[in-house]
């Protein structure tokens, strides 16, 4: 961070809720996930159709994703995801926004709650457009989260779920 004092100052300014009177700053955009299965040529993709997707408040990044906003392109799959994985509860992620910046990237360290499981996760993010845009991609291990991989009539998803996001300040 010390290497980029100007960027640092700019990002701090833009992301500082204090600078905006501790207001909640909403971020919208795209959040998608993909997972492969035990069959080589079958993989599933999904997205979260919700706005805003995330917010920054009191120096904390917060996501609360409602189960009904998860879409995988097939009704039954959505039902299984919502009932078996999310347990019909919102997916929650919270992390203090105090990560060490390297260039325009840093890693958020926070807690992720999926269904009735909570686990510490690290989410690398990249800031662009003077902090107006936040992008990232990370792998989520179902096993490490304590979640059982969904399986339906012989087709079982693999452990690693790739999560991608591209958010813009609203």
């Amino acid at each position: 961070m010390k290497k980029f004092p100007l960027v640092s100052a700019l990002i701090s300014c833009l992301f500082s809720p204090l600078a905006l009177g501790a207001a909640q700053i909403p971020y919208g955009g795209e959040l998608s996930f993909s997972v492969r299965t035990n069959l080589a040529a079958i993989s599933f993709e999904g997205q979260v159709g919700q706005s805003p997707l995330a917010s920054l408040e009191d120096q904390k990044v917060r996501l609360s994703l409602s189960p009904e906003n998860f879409q995988t392109g097939m009704g039954l799959r959505d039902d299984h995801l919502r009932e078996q994985i999310l347990k019909s509860t919102p997916l929650l992620f919270e992390a203090p926004f105090d990560c060490e910046m390297t260039a325009s990237s840093c890693t958020l360290k926070g807690e992720l709650k999926i269904g009735d499981k909570t686990s510490a996760v690290e989410v690398p993010i990249t800031l662009a457009e003077q902090g107006q845009r936040v992008q990232g991609e990370f792998n989520l291990s179902l096993k490490e989260m304590g979640l059982e991989a969904p399986s339906y009539m012989g087709v079982t998803v693999k452990d690693r779920v790739v999560v991608r996001f591209d958010l813009r300040r609203q």
Binding site: S34, R36, T37, L39, A40, A41, I42, S43, F44, E45, T72, G73, M74, G75, L76, R77, Y152, M153, G154, V155
Partner: protein, 373 residues
């Protein structure tokens, strides 16, 4: 008119292919839902689940007690496919049973299976509304074996994909799979109910690529002049993320009358509720004994929109041109609607018209499709 009827009959005798549109839902391969890599035919348990889930009825498929007992713990699979059709065209209307197939598969150990499909075709004389016997095209008999295939799966490294070996009778894998067999890309390339050659086929099913390498010979059902020997390939790649597929096909075959060399390319795009597909094939035929060569182009462009998972509408445009000395030009379009009511029942209606020279052809075909397991 007779020609049109014969075309409709030959072409719409269906295989109930895997829906290519499933690429938009993450299914690059047919193997999740169908037992065979070529798609169509026997469904897997998962495929039955998806058939139910994407139907108007919705919900989860659960095998019944009788089904479980008959399956011998999953070692045996049974299925019956049948179609009732209402055909309207200028000459008059017909209601007839178009298809009744019994399909079965036996699992032998973890890596081998034998699949068989016994099909019953309608009597052509009845179909044509005549009392006299009409000669069966290509030696098609009322009962015939549509598929008799041995499969061996070779397990590969995880994530690298699997190889399969097929030996037996089946349809040739090339270009787009489509259950509209009046499609010029199929009907003009000898793809008929009698065209189920004996094959030795190697298939690679990978995460982002699938390949078919086929050597084939006569099935024994053909008339002598149609007995064909040859080789073929079909490859497909997942491109542009997970929503687009590009493919190429080649086929060389030789009969006592002529040889043919088919080369083609096709694409499939799954864009949410919209599915787009297209194919362009060129076939070069050469008459036996050093005779003339003549080329043929066939092309198809289709858009299908899914208003619901169970309800779709499609529009298709097709072209065909055959060079001299058998010069022909065809251009047509069709509109279709499909509704999957349950895992066992679907409704389909198609209107198709095409122009050949100055002659116009058209028909409306309504189908009740049964898929019982």
């Amino acid at each position: 008119m007779k020609l049109a009827l014969a075309l409709i009959f030959l072409s719409f005798s269906p295989l109930l292919f895997a829906h290519e549109s499933m690429v938009g839902k993450g299914y690059f391969s047919c193997l999740a839902c169908h037992q065979s890599s070529t798609g169509g035919g026997l469904l897997t348990q998962y495929g039955r689940g998806i058939a139910r889930a994407t139907s108007l009825r919705g919900g989860e498929y659960r095998p019944g007690t009788l089904g479980k007992a008959l399956s011998l713990d999953g070692k045996l699979t049974h299925q019956v496919q049948a179609r009732l059709a209402q055909l309207d065209q200028k000459r008059g209307d017909r209601f007839f049973p178009m298809q009744a197939d019994y399909l079965a598969a036996v699992q032998v150990g973890d890596s081998q299976a034998v699949r068989v499909t016994v099909a019953r075709a309608p009597e052509r004389a009845k179909l044509l509304g005549r009392n006299e016997t009409v000669e069966e095209v290509g030696g098609l008999s009322q009962f015939f074996v549509r598929q008799l295939l041995w499969e061996k799966r070779l397990e590969g490294e995880e994530d690298e994909g699997n190889w399969l070996i097929h030996f037996g009778r089946d349809h040739l894998a090339y270009s787009l799979n489509t259950d509209d067999h009046t499609a010029f890309i199929k009907a003009e390339n000898r793809f008929t109910p009698t065209d189920f050659p004996t094959q030795l086929r190697f298939i690679f099913e990978g995460e982002k690529a699938r390949h078919f390498f086929t050597g084939f010979g006569p099935s024994g059902q053909e008339v002598d002049s149609n007995r064909e020997w040859g080789v073929g390939t079909k490859s497909e790649w997942l491109v542009l993320g997970d929503w687009a597929v590009a493919g190429v096909s080649t086929l060389y075959g030789k009969t006592p009358r002529l040889s043919r060399l088919l080369t083609g390319a096709h694409v499939k795009l799954g864009l949410g509720p919209l599915f787009l597909s297209g194919a362009l094939d060129h076939t070069l035929r050469t008459l036996a004994g050093g005779g003339d060569s003549f080329g043929q182009f066939t092309a198809l462009a289709r858009a299908e929109v899914f208003l619901r998972e169970w309800l779709s509408f499609s529009a298709t445009k097709e072209w065909m041109s055959l060079d001299q000395p058998f010069e022909r030009r065809r251009e047509g379009h069709s509109f279709g609607a499909r509704a999957r009511v349950s895992e066992s029942l679907a409704l389909q209606a198609d209107y198709k018209e095409w122009l050949e020279g100055t002659r116009e052809h058209e028909f409306i075909l309504g189908q009740l499709i049964f898929n019982l397991f």
